[in-house]
């Protein structure tokens, strides 16, 4: 029985080989699908961020590509649909994430792996992507040593600003009002106890001091803090016109809520990650008006508003005004690069991603020659129910800033 089967296989292999030799043009059969896999935090501390920023974008992209019949791959001369063959929960544990990435690349042997969520996880995963030659479109990551990192890991790409740029974007706005005497030079700054909070507050602090600001309050609070009333009270008592929080989504919501109940109305109220979430606007409604936050988005770009409506309709989640559109844009780049390369060969696709730009996306044209997207939104503001980009002011589609923030 086994011998027979083996013989049949051998015969089939011979026949296949013969056919291959005879018809070199149709070298390989087209695969049924382009196999996609990812490991992301579906449970644990990172789950909220992943579910808000990243996952709906993945789902929408798969939906959109397949609605068009797939990606045209010249090598096979046909459109091939994408299929998520593996979707794993890294349980917000870095060690689990690494192991599951290895599973995707060496066991499941998927064609492309979509990145995990958060700076830490992406930096930890970068060596594995590089080792197995998978393009690593690490959207939800930023670091001050990006240039050195992309040299070390040649498959890695960064899409968001480096921490230092966020500080510059914020200070650009502050300076305008400080120089015209409408804003005092006192700053109250709090930060979450995490690499994000550390790097942001360090970056902000250095820039602010260099521009002649006086940081009258600087505090960090633990990740997952359940109450931030003291932080808000101290900020209120500090006499600063500007409140800056290097915060994560749960604390962003908590700080805003507490500031409202405490009647704390600084002229500039800035919170970081989570401010750009659609939920922020839905939650605080008219009170969100004038709140500043990290990120930014230009809804006037071609395809942008259409993308917003489509994601809401298909996944039930409105995208945020920062990394969500960029996540979708990164997948548009992958799609276009596969099409342009005409193959599923990862090395060729990678080369095309680097050299085939600039790519037309819903976040505008993006060029990845340096593996780093250089010019991006640094700061945004809630204006009439939308989180829009306000700085750097030389970005296309920049909106005029609302000053001071209206009272809650």
């Amino acid at each position: 029985m086994h011998t027979q089967w083996r013989r049949a296989m051998a015969a089939a292999a011979l026949a296949a080989f013969g056919t291959l030799a005879a018809l070199p043009v149709h070298a390989a059969d087209a695969p049924n699908s382009i196999r996609i896999g990812y490991a992301i935090s579906l449970s644990g501390v990172n789950a909220q961020g992943a579910a808000t920023t990243t996952l709906p974008g993945y789902d929408l992209w798969v939906h959109d590509v397949n609605a068009q019949g797939g990606i045209f791959v010249k090598e096979f001369n046909k459109k091939i649909p994408v299929e998520v063959v593996a979707k794993y929960d890294d349980t917000s544990s870095a060690e689990t994430m690494l192991r599951l990435e290895e599973k995707l690349m060496t066991e499941d042997k998927v064609d492309f792996v979509l990145p995990p969520w958060s700076t830490g996880f992406n930096l930890a995963a970068a060596p594995i992507f590089a080792k197995y030659g998978y393009p690593d479109l690490a959207v939800t990551a930023n670091a001050n040593d990006e240039e050195q990192l992309v040299k070390q890991f040649p498959t890695l790409f960064f899409f968001l600003n480096q921490p230092i740029h966020f500080g510059q974007a914020l200070i650009e706005v502050l300076n305008k009002y400080k120089n015209s005497g409408q804003l005092n030079n006192k700053i109250a700054m709090v930060s979450v106890g995490d690499q994000f909070g550390a790097e942001m507050s360090a970056g902000f602090g250095a820039g602010l001091k260099a521009s002649g600001y006086d940081i009258v309050l600087q505090k960090s609070y633990p990740l997952g803090a359940a109450d931030l009333t003291n932080e808000i009270k101290e900020a209120k008592a500090s006499g600063a016109d500007t409140f800056i929080a290097a915060s994560y989504p749960p604390d962003t919501f908590m700080l805003t809520g507490t500031a409202i109940t405490q009647g704390y109305n600084p002229k500039i109220f800035y919170t970081a990650v989570g401010t750009a979430f659609a939920e922020y606007g839905a939650n605080f409604k008219k009170k969100a008006q004038g709140v500043m936050g990290i990120g930014g988005w230009n809804p006037a770009l071609p395809g942008a508003m259409d993308y917003y409506k489509r994601q809401l309709a298909v996944t039930g989640h409105a995208p945020d005004g920062w990394a969500s559109p960029v996540t979708y844009a990164s997948l548009q780049i992958l799609q276009q690069a596969i099409e342009k390369a005409g193959t599923l060969d990862r090395k060729k696709v990678l080369d095309t991603i680097v050299n085939g730009g600039p790519w037309q996306t819903i976040s505008g044209p993006i060029d990845l020659k340096t593996h780093i997207v250089e010019h991006q939104w640094g700061a945004g503001q809630w204006q009439n129910g939308q989180f829009v980009g306000v700085s750097p002011t030389d970005m296309p589609g920049v909106k005029p800033f609302i000053f001071p923030k209206p009272s809650w």
Partner: protein, 364 residues
């Protein structure tokens, strides 16, 4: 004792056989990296690291019966010490430094807290990990202004695996020797009854601290060995409180009576977690929680207890199946019982009377 020579010989043969089997097993395990894919190897790394952690945990908690949730604290200390020292020290020196730091923390913590008992110690040990993590976070934010350290060393997964395998052998041997040492016996007495232990002259605090340090050193070294697996480490990666809980559950599942019992807890739980993470990604937490509840309710002595029960049941003389006649016989037997006569009020009066006026031939 006449049988002692015979006994000794038998014990010697058993020991030799056990050592032989262990050596063969380790030899087989050592070849794993040659045979498997990278993913399977990292799976084995996970198994080995939890094996060491669980046996090390059982060394302390299985004997003193104090539930420690400090595993993630020591694991994290190991990992973060390597992350902080790797730029200035050679790799093995930073491993050694990690052990020293881990032992020092265990000494201080042990001396301060091992007088606490029960619940208080559990809470403190849990707080320890969180406290150190927040301390590191504060340090990095305020002193280095960056969080997350890069660890690039030529110490690949194969090396990590082989080192962890070696460590597993060592922790196993330490546990084995401990059970045969005065310290081990002292610990067992403490676990049974601390007051008795003190009465028979055991230095209870010293003994507890000593085993706490030994256990912590293994946990610390495991964390240190796992550090090169990450090219990027921050305190939140290193001090993951889940590690403490998973280790306790693994030890409970395996059982604590036997030294090798944790193996039976580690392997099924890791396979289960991996299955849940990959096959039912959205249900991972829910299903894992259910499994924990099942373990606690239905397997109080762990898988080892279950195996022992099955073994005993197999050794028992076979009970003949009773079939349909069984219930009939039972019913017949029940019906033919002598009837208990109700004693009524007379009985109560009789009782009272007997209390007041005992019979002459009855002793009070």
């Amino acid at each position: 004792m006449a049988a002692s020579a015979e006994d000794r010989r038998r014990r010697r043969t058993r020991t030799a056989a056990a050592i032989g089997a262990l050596v063969a097993l380790v030899a087989v395990l050592a070849t794993v990296p040659l045979l498997t894919s990278d993913y399977q190897l990292s799976f084995m790394v996970n198994v080995m690291s939890y094996l060491v952690l669980t046996i090390a945990w059982a060394l302390f908690s299985g004997t003193t019966r104090l539930v420690s949730l400090a595993t993630s604290a020591f694991f994290g200390i190991g990992m973060y010490t390597v992350a902080m020292s790797i730029k200035i020290l050679p790799l093995y020196a930073s491993f050694a430094l990690a052990i020293v730091v881990g032992a020092a923390v265990a000494l201080v913590v042990g001396v301060l807290t091992l007088r606490l008992s029960g619940m208080f110690f559990v809470i403190f040990s849990f707080g320890l990990s969180e406290m150190i993590r927040e301390l590191m976070v504060w340090w990095e934010i305020n002193q280095t202004h960056t969080m997350g350290r890069y660890v690039y060393v030529p110490f690949d997964t194969t090396m990590i695996y082989e080192h962890l395998l070696g460590l597993a052998v060592v922790v196993f041997l330490v546990g084995w020797l401990l059970r045969r040492s005065r310290l081990g016996i002292a610990l067992l007495v403490i676990g049974e009854d601390e007051t008795v232990a003190r009465q028979v002259g055991i230095n209870v605090p010293f003994t507890k601290v000593a085993i706490f340090i030994v256990s912590a050193m293994f946990m610390t070294l495991t964390g240190a060995l796992m550090a090169p697996r990450f090219s990027f480490i921050n305190p939140n990666f290193a001090f993951n409180p889940l590690v403490s809980f998973v280790v306790v559950i693994m030890a409970l599942l395996g059982g604590l009576q036997k030294l090798w019992a944790p193996v039976l807890g580690v392997i099924p739980l890791i396979i289960l977690s991996e299955r849940l993470q990959t096959q039912f990604p959205f249900w991972y937490s829910v299903l894992l929680g259910l499994v924990f509840m099942v373990i606690v309710y239905f397997l109080p002595r762990g898988v080892t207890g279950l195996l022992e029960d099955i073994w005993k049941a197999l050794g028992r003389p076979l009970a003949l199946p009773r079939g349909f006649t069984g219930p009939l016989l039972d019913a017949w037997a029940w019906l033919s019982r002598p009837i208990f006569l109700p004693r009524g009020l007379a009985g109560i009066i009789e009782e009272r009377w007997l209390k007041i006026m005992p019979r002459a031939n009855e002793k009070r």
